[in-house]
Symmetry: C2
């Protein structure tokens, strides 16, 4: 089957480039997170709230979108260094796209780099970008069975942020159910429950990000 061969070659090439990115991040003492979720779970809003709380951690952001630089504009408005990758329909970022984006950031001034991937719970899961950890974000307006359906993503993630806690009272979403479902797929997954909108849980989350910095 030629498709499988091509796919494997693409992934091998991606892994080589991801390893190079990872070495570069280690040399520069930059902690890097790959943020993954469905469209509309609130990744960019989460960053808008987190970045001012993490101002002393000297953040940078790489934004991935299929189209538009709207998200990068939202981040740039906070005076945080940001690069937008437009994939032109590509359903995930890859290590080569990230490497190219890095040439537009001054890595000597950045300690914490967030890569906001394309909104997609499927395809980005298989592509290592060189990050320390993948973080999956799910919102309380999605179904609490998502971890059972999107197993590759929840297995790849080290951290799960449950966002939109402010909407919880108006949904059927059950926090204990989603945690139980996710832990069934990935017993080591660490959780944060937040509302980027109201600020609930954001102090704890930003403190955790600070704890992940190089000393």
């Amino acid at each position: 089957m030629p498709v499988i061969t091509v796919e494997r070659k693409i992934l091998e090439k991606n892994d080589q480039l991801a390893t190079q990115n990872r070495q570069l991040f280690a040399e520069k003492h930059i902690t890097v997170f790959n943020l993954l979720s469905s469209p509309g779970s609130g990744k960019t809003t989460l960053l808008e709230k987190l970045l001012p709380m993490l101002a002393e951690s000297r953040c940078g952001v790489v934004e991935g979108d299929l189209q538009t630089d709207r998200d990068a504009q939202r981040i740039a408005a906070l005076n945080v260094p940001v690069v937008q990758i437009v994939t032109n329909g590509g359903c995930h970022l890859d290590a080569g796209l990230v490497r190219d984006a890095l040439t537009n950031l001054d890595l000597d001034t950045i300690r914490l780099l967030f890569i906001e991937n394309v909104g997609n719970l499927v395809c980005p899961a298989g592509y290592d970008l060189g990050e320390q950890k993948k973080i999956v974000i799910i919102s309380t307006t999605e179904g609490d069975d998502k971890p059972l359906k999107y197993t590759t993503m929840f297995r790849a993630a080290r951290v799960c942020i449950i966002n939109k806690m402010d909407l919880l009272p108006w949904t059927d979403f059950n926090i204990e159910t989603v945690k139980r479902n996710a832990l069934q797929i990935n017993p080591d997954l660490q959780f944060f429950t937040v509302s980027a909108k109201t600020g609930t849980g954001m102090q704890e989350l930003s403190a955790w990000f600070k704890s992940q910095l190089y000393k």
Copy 2:
């Protein structure tokens, strides 16, 4: 670039199978809709509410998921014929998978077939399944800029269902903004605003589905 060639061959093969599916649906006088959205926009809940309202239209359902037959179980509980396709990580349905699924349905008894695609606003947009129309579902808890980012999907769709209207008061989602953004991408797009949970707008939507049946 071998990838592009393989991709084109896959799409050509898919289009051939989709044409065969479309001919079969026409012969059998079955109206078919391909339902597309992010994970968690409420596709299955929408079907759970619609199917009893459309009981006289003799519905059938093809469920697509990466893992689990949870959605098919929810539909089967309504005594509606349903087949589950588990893609095992595949990020979209294709015409061949649908053709195989159809062998498990009695097409002579079905007039209205819903194909619930994998939760993904990117990859399924490019794959014709043989449906009459693609329907994109977006919920009020997602950003109202989604049409500008997921242009291929909103261009491919003929109908856009805006779901979770019950949560609108607690979000920053603006109905006029999302419509304006979507019409900028696809001027012919038709809208329905509903809450599958409370029933708002569901009568109008089910009446529209009935109007789409073969006479």
